[in-house]
């Protein structure tokens, strides 16, 4: 469907990879992957060296490939995260104090130039963001639906866990509703290529999507209550604890990051 963006990962595709493919990362315990995500978040927050950040990013890219996932799609999916980096780091690349790269550009508001420090900052922020993006996608594309549901149920307090589980289940249904609505208007000659001229059509499609969602939720209440639900029950199965070697690996990751932080980043422990 062309109108649904290919810059945003389609949950249906993501689940198809996790349900129907087999790869080395599919066999890694889901808790381990969560642990690694946490470690990576911590790492990209405390590490300040561009080479180290670039190395981390390269490593996640390799893992993504080993997991058997498609690089071309990843390129599309980078669009939005990169946009976020550009919107924050873009101006900073010019404003950051330091030595300009090449000549400066004279503009009415003064001289504009990208400094070495600015460019490096831009690189750092890009690596930080894409490292976690890549690994988060690797994790979701290699973890079965039921296991993700279990993690959500475990990590979130009631009633947020219940909400998240229903969201996960009904995201697929709602995407199809939206897609059907888009198909419906396109089939009758609507063009969705320009926003302002078609604002009413957009409003109707989005309005109908929300209306369908609300009415579906009204039916869902009936069906859940018909089976005795009162807002408080476990909806998910079970995920075993990770095997010892995976625990060791995750602990090692954290230990490494803490050591790096203390020694290199904050130099609490002088070498």
């Amino acid at each position: 469907m062309t109108t649904l963006s290919n810059h945003v990962p389609d949950p249906r595709l993501i689940t198809a990879y996790s349900e129907h493919r087999e790869g080395p990362l599919h066999r890694v315990n889901p808790w381990t992957k969560v642990g690694v995500v946490g470690a990576l978040v911590l790492a990209v927050t405390v590490v300040e060296s561009l080479p180290v950040l670039a190395g981390l990013y390269a490593a996640t890219l390799v893992v993504y490939g080993i997991a058997g996932l498609p690089y071309r799609r990843l390129g599309y999916w980078y669009t939005l995260p990169l946009l976020f980096v550009v919107s924050v780091a873009g101006p900073l690349a010019f404003l950051e104090p330091g030595v300009p790269i090449g000549g400066a550009l004279t503009t009415p508001i003064g001289e504009l130039s990208v400094t070495w420090a600015g460019a490096s900052l831009f690189g750092e922020l890009t690596c930080r963001s894409l490292t976690v993006v890549t690994f988060a996608l690797t994790a979701t594309m290699t973890t079965r639906y039921a296991d993700i549901a279990y993690l959500l149920g475990r990590l979130l307090p009631r009633p947020i866990d219940q909400v998240a589980l229903l969201t996960y289940r009904f995201t697929f249904v709602m995407i199809e509703t939206l897609e059907d609505l888009v198909k419906g208007v396109l089939a009758r000659g609507a063009s969705l290529s320009e926003f302002w001229a078609n604002r009413r059509i957009y409003a109707r499609i989005l309005g109908m999507t929300l209306l369908t969602a609300i009415e579906r939720s009204e039916r869902l209440v009936k069906s859940m209550e018909a089976r005795g639900y009162d807002g408080d029950i476990t909806l998910y199965g079970d995920v075993p604890r990770p095997p010892a070697r995976e625990v060791v690996a995750v602990v090692a990751c954290y230990a490494g990051i803490v050591a790096y932080t203390l020694v290199v980043a904050y130099q609490v422990i002088p070498v």
Partner: protein, 226 residues
Amino acid sequence: MAHIHLGEGSFPLWALVLWTTLGVALVGAVVYRIRKGGIKTHQIALAGIGAAASFAIFQLNIPVWGGIHMNLTGLVGILAGPLLGALIALVVNIFSAALGHGAVGLLGANTLVNASEAIVAYYAFRTLLRMDWDIFPAGASAATLGLSAGAILMGAIIVISGVNGSALPRGDLTIAVAGLVGLNLGVAVIEGILTGFVVQFLASVRPDLVGLVDRTTSEESAGVTA
């Protein structure tokens, strides 16, 4: 939803801890309020499917400036109320982060931003309706207000945190961020107008959803707008 999420690793560690703590506090307060009233199945169902819809809508490419994506957080706030609106913001952020959109470490910050959008939009909408505004201007203004509040909050978060690894003085950072917030305000107006049209459409089809008529059995809407 403000159209710029904060990317992973943008902030120093202390800021990450601060925003996470504040985010947890907000969500904790919401959960406390909901639990105190007794968790109602219809609240859970509405929040769950509402978040699914918001997430699905995000998949739609809206052709402005080469393509933008929206979650319609303001609209969700207007329809679901501040409590469920905040929960939906959190859940949508969790799923977005899982799909590499937004940030795991900045869930707290991003949730604060989006929840504020939903909450401000809701109260603005109620207030404007009480002032006898028409449905379209009320919806559009409320959503624009909510989204603007979110954009400004996000700017403030960036300025307070400082960008990880940047030596730029806060004053200059503020200038850079002001440009970003300005851009987001532009998008807020577009999303606000779109929200206005959607609210107008919903009012013509099911007026009870936007609080224009009372349903005789108020059970349904009571918890929703609590």
